[in-house]
């Protein structure tokens, strides 16, 4: 299917970036559901226990599945072990990276930092670069030219989206980025959101990662087996990345751009307990964006508190995909079209002043 052309410029240094600043969309004030201070304080409280438990289960399961994969290596029986190991390595690391980047997973700071560094390596997201990138994503969520983490641009590159279920484009891009940083260089876009004082950290971590990757490669050559590379490095990030890509797409794809109300540009999707363990409750995505300092373990409670002020959640990942797949296909031809979320009668209405009258002038 051919893709329509668009006037959008998603680069961080381009026309839309300047336009977003001029129109007051950059670093703007966003809509928030009214929740009394006392309740918010309760919801924001940090705990160590849930994340210590979940991290022990996560790493424990990885070790068990890795042992199974080694035990059955050479037969097809190793495949299910690799599939499970891969999801824990290349997908569960995504949510761990994410939650720890907010500093909310653990109460103890060094535990956040340690799990953050570990998860970053697994998902191949350089800790300093991605901390700043994600900071911008929360400041300017799905603002064209400002948000560096827009997955489904308009018109969507559906081939790229499909290939990235196994990080086929993302992983080589990440490796090239790490190599560039190991050589002491950042792109102009990266320089636009990473302060100069942080650049030495970027270079140091990149050099460490390259050393680890080279050690794995040397071990493969020494043993004459690809097995070490199937457990550490880009390969498990690739073959295990499909789950995080699948659930990650439900977050914003197909929804409105350039609005200042997360109820319009984010989805909350009900998911089963296994998905929520792997995803660390990021299915409550409207809630997470509106109140990013609420830890993952408190998001169900936050959801219950604010759901009357939000669009009706999707009942399953399947239900979300039934909306977003046709939406992405349609946006290939009609980049201006988007899914418009409807509010229940109990919700405070959308404020035209926060989204350029987008509700008053719907796309359909």
């Amino acid at each position: 299917m051919s893709r329509a052309t668009t006037m959008r410029d998603y680069s961080l240094l381009g026309l839309d970036s300047r336009r977003a600043v001029e129109e007051g969309l950059a670093a703007a004030e966003w809509y928030h559901t009214d929740i009394p201070r006392k309740e918010m304080k309760e919801l924001m409280q940090r705990k160590d226990a849930p994340a210590i438990r979940d991290t022990a289960i996560w790493i424990g399961l990885m070790l068990i599945f890795a042992a199974g994969a080694v035990a059955f290596w050479g037969s097809w029986w190793s495949l299910p072990f690799f599939i499970c190991y891969g999801v824990l390595y290349g997908s569960a690391s995504d949510s761990r990276w994410h939650e720890c980047s907010h500093g909310t997973a653990f109460k103890t700071r060094w535990l956040n930092d340690a799990v953050y560094a570990f998860a970053c390596f697994l998902i191949m997201r350089e800790p300093t670069i991605w901390r700043w990138s994600h900071t911008r994503h929360h400041t300017d969520t799905i603002i064209v030219g400002r948000d560096p983490e827009i997955v489904a641009m308009r018109p969507p590159d559906t081939l790229a989206i499909l290939l990235n279920f196994f990080n086929i484009l993302n992983a080589p891009r990440a490796v090239i980025g790490v190599l560039r940083h190991a050589l002491g260089s950042l792109t102009e876009e990266e320089k636009s959101f990473v302060p100069e004082s942080e650049w030495p950290k970027v270079y140091a971590v990149a050099r460490l990662w390259v050393l680890i990757w080279l050690a794995v490669l040397a071990l493969c050559l020494y043993t004459g087996s690809i097995l070490p590379a199937l457990f550490i490095g880009p390969l498990p990030t690739m073959y295990g990345g499909w789950f995080s890509h699948m659930v990650g797409l439900t977050q914003h794809a197909g929804l409105a751009e350039n609005v200042l109300d997360h109820r319009l540009n984010s989805r909350t999707v009900y998911m089963n307990p296994v998905f929520r363990f792997l995803y660390w409750n990021m299915n409550y995505h409207v809630e997470h964006h509106m109140f990013p300092m609420v830890p993952y373990h408190a998001l169900p409670k936050l959801h219950a508190r604010m759901k009357d002020d939000c669009p009706v959640p999707y009942n399953s990942t399947w239900e979300a995909y039934r909306e977003l797949v046709p939406a992405l296909i349609r946006q290939m031809k009609e980049p201006e079209w988007f899914v418009q979320r409807a509010l229940p009668g109990s919700a405070r209405p959308f404020r035209p002043d926060l989204h350029n009258d987008i509700v008053a002038a719907p796309a359909e």
């Binding site: 670093a27 924001m44 942080e198 990013p292 300092m293």
Partner: protein, 104 residues
Amino acid sequence: MSQWIAVCGADDIDEEDVIRFDHQGESYAIYRSPENTYHATDGHCTHERVLLTDGLVMDNIIECPKHNGRFDYRTGEAKGAPVCVNLKTFPVKVEAGTVYIQIG
């Protein structure tokens, strides 16, 4: 010229919490520590213009509600990314159950 401004009653702030105080177009954050001491800083995070008074106070740290920027509210010291610039602090005194900050 600096002046002492009455902010609130000492009991109007919970222990280990913060309230917002607006004066002449500026916002200030007024803290009560777990040790029952009072402190004041600029109301907005130095990273982006987000009100710190919606954030979480943990011991002697105020955490920005938007990006997790952390400051020691006693000294204003920025404790690491994404905050790189210290917060401005203001002298505080409590007299006869009223909290005052010195501005100017």
